[in-house]
């Protein structure tokens, strides 16, 4: 469904070109859930931007199967503070020129599903971080995407809210059979949610390894011994790239 071959990207800054991503190749099948992890500044977000078409690679090919709708959740500033929860969630449909009745029924349904019923006319600034992320998720889902791209959707949340939303993401992935691509810096999140984990090196980002993680997607996985082993392995893999001092 998603096919990336030898994609490279560099940013031009004050006349000098700095490589961000080098020779990235991987593919993601339909209904798969993929996590992209790497040290901060490794180009994870840029990679997601390449997939969503917000950036174009300098070289290489990015193929997304035709005719599939995609929804995207960006890290910050994704919600519009001047729009109510209802207007934010329905925006994608409004932009497509859908009729009011369809927008209303779909948004109402999603808000209920996300536990946001009764918050229609609230502005994002009046909601907690966890609720804001659920609004962002509802907005991405409103257009009924076949692919869902997420850039650190949960990074600003406290541990418990985070875990609850990870379970919600899992439910959505299982129920709606959406192909998901999740960028994260959290090892546990990557292992819990990604059946395929793409590990990037520090900048310029290369693929260090693509880890198969077929047990992701089970609710109890989080507390299993296997889960801890996978986390430890992933941590070892990333440690060499961290560049920080051992303490």
């Amino acid at each position: 469904m998603i096919n990336v071959r030898a994609a490279s990207l560099s940013f031009n800054h004050d006349g000098t070109s700095r490589p961000v991503l080098q020779e990235i190749s991987f593919s993601i099948e339909q209904h798969e859930s993929c996590a992209i992890i790497g040290p901060s500044g490794c180009g994870k977000t840029s990679l997601l931007f390449l997939l969503t078409g917000l950036l174009q690679p300098d070289s290489g090919v990015i193929e997304i199967a035709d005719g599939f709708r995609s929804g995207t959740i960006l890290q910050n500033f994704g919600l519009f503070p001047w729009k109510t929860v209802y207007q934010n969630v329905g925006l994608g449909l409004v932009l497509k020129g859908e009729e009011q009745g369809l927008i209303r029924s779909r948004v109402d349904h999603l808000l209920t599903e996300m536990g946001l019923a009764g918050f229609h006319s609230h502005f994002p600034g009046q909601l907690s971080g966890g609720m804001q992320q659920r609004v962002a998720l509802a907005r991405a889902l409103a257009i009924e995407p076949e692919i869902l791209y997420m850039d650190e959707p949960l990074s600003s949340l406290d541990a418990l809210t985070r875990e609850r939303l990870q379970n919600l993401l899992l439910e959505i992935w299982q129920k709606k059979k959406i192909t998901t691509v999740l960028v994260t810096h959290s090892i546990e999140e990557a292992v819990f949610l990604g059946r395929k984990i793409i590990v990037l090196s520090r900048r310029p980002g290369r693929i260090l390894q693509i880890v198969d993680n077929p047990d992701a997607g089970e609710r109890g996985y989080r507390r299993s011994e296997l889960f801890f082993h996978r986390c430890i392995n992933l941590r070892e893999l990333l440690k060499g790239e961290d560049g920080g001092q051992e303490t």
């Binding site: 078409g53 960006l74 932009l95 600034g125």
Partner: protein
Amino acid sequence: MGRKRDTLLAAVILLLLWQLAAVLIHADALPRPGEVFADAGRKFLDGSLLDDLAISCIRALLGIVLALVTAVPLGLVVGAEEPLRKRLSPFIYLLYPIPHVVLLPLIIILFGIGNLSKIFLISLIVFFQILVTTRDAAKEIHRNYFYSMQTLGATRRQIYRHVILPATMPKVMTALRISVGTAVAILFFVESFATTRGLGYIIMDSWGRADYVSLYTGITCMGMLGFSLYMLLDRLERRICRWNQTN
């Protein structure tokens, strides 16, 4: 209610200070508030002041509205479209600092000595204040808002409607508030020539006749005019930028 009480309190304190100063200075050039309000009340009741108040109000309002409807669209486009910003910003910087009141002779040649040239001069000066603020506000919109719109498949037109316009509204309202003060100051200037109506004329005429009570009636009315415009803007802002007051 708290705001109304605070405003009333400020008015009472100002009147007390005025009374105190009038008693201490004890000169014709500073009549007591009692005399001024009696004079204003009498002129209101016999209708002789209403004409002047109305014409001044219309001149100021039309000047501001004319500036608003031209400066905001231009400011948004110049701020949001980078090539346009680079081309046009030097013009703005070269033209903005010129004291536009010196163009009065030219404006009179072009528009005559009637209301049109008075309104035009007010709007010309206010235009630049609104233009610069709007342009800066449009320039400073976080790029993630644009990315979010792109991932939802928005057209440029939709981006203006759903992001650029609402995001800049609070700053536009601030610019408008500043422009009310400017507009009233310019109003006095343009009503001091070639007219026999308006609060500015009343002030200049009373000054010439050394009728200080009448002079202060004019000043007080001008103050009230400005104050009413501020109140109007406050109302408008609370409606338009409801989201901005929620956090």
